[in-house]
Amino acid sequence: MKMSLMRIYAMYTKELRQLRRDKLTFAMIVGMPVLLVMLFGFAMNNDVRHINAALLDESQTSNSRELVGEINQSQIFTFKYQVATQKEIEALFRSGKISAALVIPVDFERRLAQADQSAVQLMLDGTDQSVQGSARQLVTMPINTILREHRSSNPSPPVAILNLYNPQHLAPLNSIPGLVGIVLTMSLVMFTSEALVRERERGNLEFLITTPLSPAELVLGKVLPLIGIGLIQTALVVCLGVIIFSVPVRGSVIELYIAALFYIFASVGLGIFISTTVQTQFQAMQMSIFSFLPQLMLSGYQFPFAGMPPAAQWIGEMLPLTHIIRLVRGIMLRSSTFMDMWPDYLALFVFGMVLLTIAILRFRKRLD
């Protein structure tokens, strides 16, 4: 049967009307990207500072005080407790009052002079990975120069690290671009699957099946507004990132939107597929969240992709979120072009096509 633009348009305007009246969904479309950008931009900072720490200075020399002063300035540690014994440090660790402790031994001055001995000891709470990561920064901090001044030799570090694209170690540069993918997944998969189940759940399908409206027209009319929503959310995340967190857009903005469209296609495909497996909007929401979690974990957004075992990496490669995060980071931060990243576009396209095909096959079956 021929598709009718008129019927698709009727469905499209009807969806927009309903959406405008559904205050909660409307608030979610705008509210979620804003909330997530703020959360990840301000709160979720891996660059930890002001770690509560204890100081045990057994040497009490001018050098030791200078060292403590330097560390204080670095703001990585806040020495909340000045203690006199190792025992007190252990108690503080156990009660969770501190995550680190600096011990300056009695023979600090002598150790400084000896190149093969460490001069001070930094104790860390190993249960907190972020503390470990931050504390390691201490090793590259200027305090090292103080320690080194007193040493006979002054070896430079064996490997010099050149941080491309993010020399200032700005956390938002890592988190914000990936959020484009997170926001689109959280909203589009859920909105799509819910939108398609809504008619069935509210009984409107009873009416629709007696009209000439075809399943394809129904789905298209419902999905078109969602594509618009996806593009608006993309713009929102990028704009907030640029304005508030000075995240650069180094590549082409057009390509950024094309990448977003590819991802919207994949997410809508997933949403349509989910809608064919559930009966109610609530189930649709549950399934959407269920499909979102592995994506979040394996996409390389929260945990580095390189750190995962091969099987997990392999699964990660099959998930669309992995590819959109790569694409957005590439375009925004490394000014990558389509030619650099075509495999990721291809992956998104294939993912969307496969799920859409399965969904259409399942949809036909259910009409009998």
């Binding site: 049967m1 009718s4 008129m6 019927r7 348009y9 009727a10 469905m11 305007t13 009807k14 009307r17 309903q18 009246r21 559904d22 509210r202 009984g203 409107n204 399908l205 009873e206 009416f207 629709l208 099946i209 007696t210 009209t211 000439p212 409206l213 009998d368």
Partner: protein
């Protein structure tokens, strides 16, 4: 009537869901311009039959021809020529009256330039003009029903299916609603109405009584009542409940109506004498007289006969 006036014709129409037979070998013939009723309790197969006639279900067996189209093969063609008012309100509660109607008009492929005119026309006919901008979810039962009817006739269908259209409305709205249905029939629309109200069934030109998927009787209400294969008696007694208790085993059906007992007996002869004798034997004081059958009697008789088959 000649064959061209036949709008719906089925032969041996059967629908099974698993091992449950929802519709059992039904033969129907419905003519143009008729208000045809399906009378039956819940679960008697009324809705399933309507769905089969619309081509929404694939019948297990049997043939269906509606407006000269074979169902369900040509269902898509039928959708443009028939309307369907669902049992439960199935329009959008978060759209206004006009928005719902405009949406349906567009879906039915009305010419964009004529959509507004047609919607306004129907708003007037079905007294919806004053509530045109109200959300459908906030309407009363009667208003919702008028909106559903207006929406189902937007595309001027030749045939209109109404599945228990008055189950959620007050008596006055029901009367107005039936006036609207007859107005449509006058314009040549064929209407198929399912109901479980006797008074509504009695208004139909012709009706079919359905019982657990079987068509147990059909014809005009007058035919059905005058051809009742039994007698209806009224028993007046100072002890009506005792009289009812006494009669129950000996007759088809008893029901208390006010101070008297309405009794349905099989066969056409000697009902009065038979029942009077039964009561006398039990020493129940009572007076028995014959009365006119109504549609409920027809319904009870038809379903009882089905049970005994």
């Amino acid at each position: 009537m000649n064959d061209r006036d036949i709008v719906i014709k089925t032969r041996g129409l059967t629908q099974r869901f698993g091992d449950k037979t929802a519709v059992n070998a039904i033969d129907l013939t419905i003519h143009r311009g008729e208000v045809y009723g399906f009378l039956g309790p819940n679960g008697s197969g009324k809705s399933t039959t309507i769905r089969l006639l619309c081509g929404l279900l694939m019948p297990t067996a049997g043939e269906i021809e509606v407006l000269g189209l074979r169902m369900p093969q040509e269902a898509e063609l039928l959708k443009r020529r028939c309307g369907y008012m669902t049992q439960k309100f199935s329009l959008y509660e978060d759209l206004s009256v006009t928005e719902n109607m405009t949406f349906a008009a567009q879906i039915y492929g009305l010419n964009p330039s004529s959509v507004k005119k047609r919607v306004n026309e129907l708003l007037e006919i079905y007294w919806l003009d004053e509530i045109r901008d109200q959300m459908a979810g906030t309407l009363s039962g009667g208003q919702k029903q008028r909106l559903a009817l207006a929406t189902s006739v937007l595309h001027k269908p030749e045939l209109l299916f109404l599945d228990e259209p008055t189950s959620a409305v007050d008596p006055e709205s029901r009367r107005d609603f039936w006036d609207s249905l007859f107005a449509l029939a006058d314009q040549g629309t064929t209407l198929l109405v399912s109901t479980h109200y006797m008074d509504e069934a009695e208004r139909c030109h012709r009706l079919a009584i359905l019982d657990r998927g079987n068509l147990v009787a059909n014809g005009s209400p007058q035919e059905l009542m005058s051809q009742l294969p039994g007698q209806v008696l009224l028993v007046d007694s100072p002890t009506p409940r005792l009289a009812q208790h006494t009669l129950k085993p000996g007759v088809l059906e008893t029901a208390q109506v006010g101070a008297s007992i309405r009794v349905l007996t099989a066969g056409h002869d000697h009902g009065v004498e038979h029942v009077q004798a039964l009561l006398n034997r039990a020493n129940v004081t009572a007076r028995v007289r014959e009365t006119q059958p109504n549609l409920e009697d027809v319904f009870v008789m038809a379903t009882r006969q089905q049970e005994n088959k």
